[in-house]
Assembly symmetry: C2
Homo-oligomer: 522 residues x 2
């Protein structure tokens, strides 16, 4: 069952890619893992894209039950991998078995949730404007609208979620639900995990009787990804990763003869606003939960709380002491890759040696390879504003606390923020007025606003937005988590006076939800 | 009532722009029209953008009734302009009073339709995922989603719809409905018409008690438009016009420190597929209605049928004769501007002198300035494929008929098409099988598929899509006509565990339609 051969997966088969590739590395030990993975060359990319293109029409017109059942089949095939999947993911990423088990459940639940979405049919956005033959000066024709998939989607997974944001992660689930074939550019930080999941998808495709071309997994280097985004038969891109890599893919996509959207989820420091009454009332509890959220899994979350605003005073000094104490109990753990670890070290060193920044606290050193103690820094609003580098993301367990002289200074700082995935309010009843002033500012700059929680832990549900204004994502009108994320991969098409026998099946199905002349049916 | 001063309109007032500008021209006579219009300079742009930004929060939180009433107020204020509006538009564009009257009704109906959309609240896309405090391993928080406006929108109107795609046209109506302030870059082909409508909007803003900053009208040159798209407080762009101008704005928007979307509706030749049974049965009727659609208002429509495919044979030869006869009855009429007329002449001359193209028929000359007789050209599928320039849009009454050897050749030609706004099928009962093969190809390439009609005449309704894959538009996932066009200017935001008193009003209103844990309410 749990074969890992190091091959690329194309057209329902496994084959050696045209280029030599890599071995995975255990980040905790630095030891290489077997087997070697081959990389896809341009011919492999072309073959996968052509197969995806020729499978597209059949897949997008598959009936809702077939498609939903297929998504559930992918979930079941992942479950069938059992411990072998968790063990390989642990070896490749250094993440704990507990965390990986939770992430696997999130991944399969996400696939099953999208199956429900497919069946419910809201995503089809059916609209029917009946004809008005007697209208003057012109009769109105019969017009009907549905959403269809945009075409084959290239998915670039993230290193920090080897299951939930990777081969069968959110982008893949949403694209499949939309009826789009998916070609995954495998992440080199967890190729074995990727192959196991990729083979599970291949089995589910075959079991569902769908065309094999709707899925491929290509390991590769940067050139492989570039070739994929450039391919004329690829019509959209889902990406989760660094700002640099995201902007590079956006440039490639914009320079195509036919530009395509890149849904890049890139960079966010997820500001937390601790309002005065909450700071006074829950000083220690907020400090402890902040440090827990910050240090969880070496802070390797897109929604890690990397920035904290609070108003100066004795309550803040007490809070800082509690943060120091809590952080002293956290020890360094292996980060996902040597590259991520090196970038963290570089970012933390730059802040530590910055003349306007004070090192508030560090955690303890650890024994793993690729591990650096978590860090919390301190500055004030004026100094923070003076150097925009202080607001750049340091991926990992690093956070900056910004002392504000007044609530007004905090509001002004909020007005200067870049786009973010999230903003968090710590507030008590006496903070409501201040929160009311802060909210409209935050609404213009973030995709999700939380109260009295922490941004890590992104619920996969109908109302979730994991997105936000640039540079958090490339396009704030979409989310990459939650059922609304299907909309990234859909486009509307309308049919005017088409004979009934030519209308697509969903537009002939009176049981599906629809807007009839603007009024909801079903 | 119908004052035209040549001023720019900013912040509820009229003022002279910082740069000298232009006079409008009557295209039928070439005569200049009074008064002179001043152009906005960078300071004017900055002032308008800052006013829009500071009005944004209040406008986007205005209650649905206020916003709907405002849209109806704009419609009423346009109606109040009476004949003065039609007369000025006729003088500036050369379009007929009848056509302009119909276009005015379309414009005000569109505003009133968006008022209904605002009240119905579907656009808010409300989603509530109730908390699950007992769920393991983690409880689910309370998560609620709504859509909010993206921010101030720059609107670039089109010359060919001085009312329906201009100052109070579809982009403006959709942006206002979404709660976004609008700054219109006035089109230099109809500045007086624009000012009349702009003043009507100003009156409606004041009557509704909304902040004056939500609307501005800036006349200007290319630099004015560029400054507007570059301004950091502008968050989206709506554009209808040429491919060159659209691509230029897209470049400016992509090069901003914070890139923003440009909804450019650019270029389409709207292929028509005349299937064999229809061609045989309705030879003359199709030829006549084709020529009527082609020559209407000098062919100055984005949806003009610029390309016709049919299978060779005696039926096609008969069809060509009928086209010749019908076109001979059409005479040249003034085009909208000397620039558009010159471009039409250039395009038509290039086709007429192309070695692989035959001039099938020309209409009659006319007496107006800026008028050239409509033209229909003929080639075959092989020659058409050999030179992609033959598939470029010639804006105006020019169309290319492409002879295909077989239905298969027609399908292959369809597979090679660029993205288009529309595709039209002329079909009878015996053509259903051929149409069934053509449909999936067209669905991948166009936004609207029509049967037995003509693409000109775009209904403003719930199920309309006026969009399509690049280069028809910049992003095929959106439409610029119909109520779904509001989605261009909205982004989702979610609220997690927010105290009820801080939740935005729509998320506290249980009468609005919403998805509750994925199931529809209301």
């Amino acid at each position: 069952m749990a074969t890992i051969t190091g091959e690329i997966l194309v057209g329902g088969e496994a084959a050696s890619g045209g280029l030599p590739g890599i071995r995975a590395t255990n980040p905790k030990t630095g030891a290489p893992l077997e087997p070697a993975f081959s990389f896809a060359d341009e011919a492999d990319v072309d073959r996968a894209a052509r197969l995806a293109w020729s499978a597209f029409d059949a897949f997008r017109e598959s009936d809702l039950e077939t498609r939903a059942h297929f998504l559930e089949g992918v979930a079941a095939a992942i479950d069938d991998l059992g411990d072998a999947l968790i063990e390989r993911a642990e070896a490749e990423t250094g993440l704990s078995r507990r965390r990986l088990g939770i992430e696997r459940d999130r991944t399969t639940n996400q696939l099953r949730l999208f199956a429900k979405v497919v069946r419910a049919g809201e995503w089809l956005d059916l609209r029917i404007d009946p004809p008005l033959p007697d209208r003057t000066p012109f009769p109105r024709p019969d017009i009907r609208l549905r959403q269809i998939g945009v075409g084959p989607v290239a998915v670039f997974g993230a290193s920090n979620f080897p299951l939930a944001f990777s081969v069968a992660g959110g982008d893949t689930a949403a694209a499949f639900a939309a009826g789009c074939p998916v070609i995954v550019k495998g992440h080199p930080a967890h190729p074995g995990t990727g192959e196991l999941v990729g083979r599970a998808i291949q089995r589910a495709v075959a079991d569902a009787g769908l065309p094999a071309g709707i899925f491929a997994l290509l390991n590769g280097a940067v050139e492989t990804g570039t070739a994929l985004v450039r391919h004329p038969m690829i019509k959209s891109v889902g990406f989760t990763g660094s700002r640099g890599a995201g902007l590079a893919l956006m440039s490639v996509a914009a320079a195509r003869p036919e530009p395509i959207p890149v849904h890049a989820e890139m960079s966010s420091i997820n500001p937390v606003f601790i309002l005065p009454a909450a700071l006074a009332e829950r000083t220690e509890a907020i400090a402890r939960s902040f440090v827990d959220s910050l240090a969880l899994d070496s802070g390797q979350y897109c929604t890690n709380p990397g920035l904290v605003y609070a108003v100066e005073g004795p309550e803040l000094e007490a809070f800082l002491s509690h943060v120091e104490a809590a952080l002293a109990l956290k020890h360094a753990e292996a980060m996902l890759t040597p590259g991520i670890h090196a970038a963290f070290d570089k970012g933390v060193d730059a802040l530590a040696s910055h003349p306007d920044v004070q090192v508030l606290a560090r955690g303890r050193d650890g024994t793993d390879a690729n591990a650096t103690a978590p860090a919390v820094f301190l500055t004030d609003a004026t100094r923070f504003e003076a150097d925009e580098a202080l607001g750049h993301e340091v991926f990992g367990a690093s956070s900056m606390i910004v002392r504000c002289e007044t609530i007004e200074a905090m509001l002004e700082a909020a007005e200067r923020m870049e786009g973010q995935l999230t903003a968090t309010l710590q507030l008590d009843a006496d903070d409501i007025d201040a929160a009311r002033r802060l909210l409209p500012i935050l609404e213009r700059r973030v995709g999700r606003i939380l109260a009295n929680g922490w941004p890590t832990g992104v619920e996969v549900s109908h109302a979730m937005v994991h997105g936000g204004p640039y540079p958090a994502t490339a396009d704030s009108r979409f989310t990459s988590v939650g059922t609304l994320s299907i909309r990234r991969f859909l486009r509307p098409i309308s049919y005017q006076n088409l004979p009934a026998e030519l209308l697509p099946a969903p537009l002939r199905d009176e049981t599906l939800p629809a807007l009839i002349d603007g009024v909801r049916r079903g």
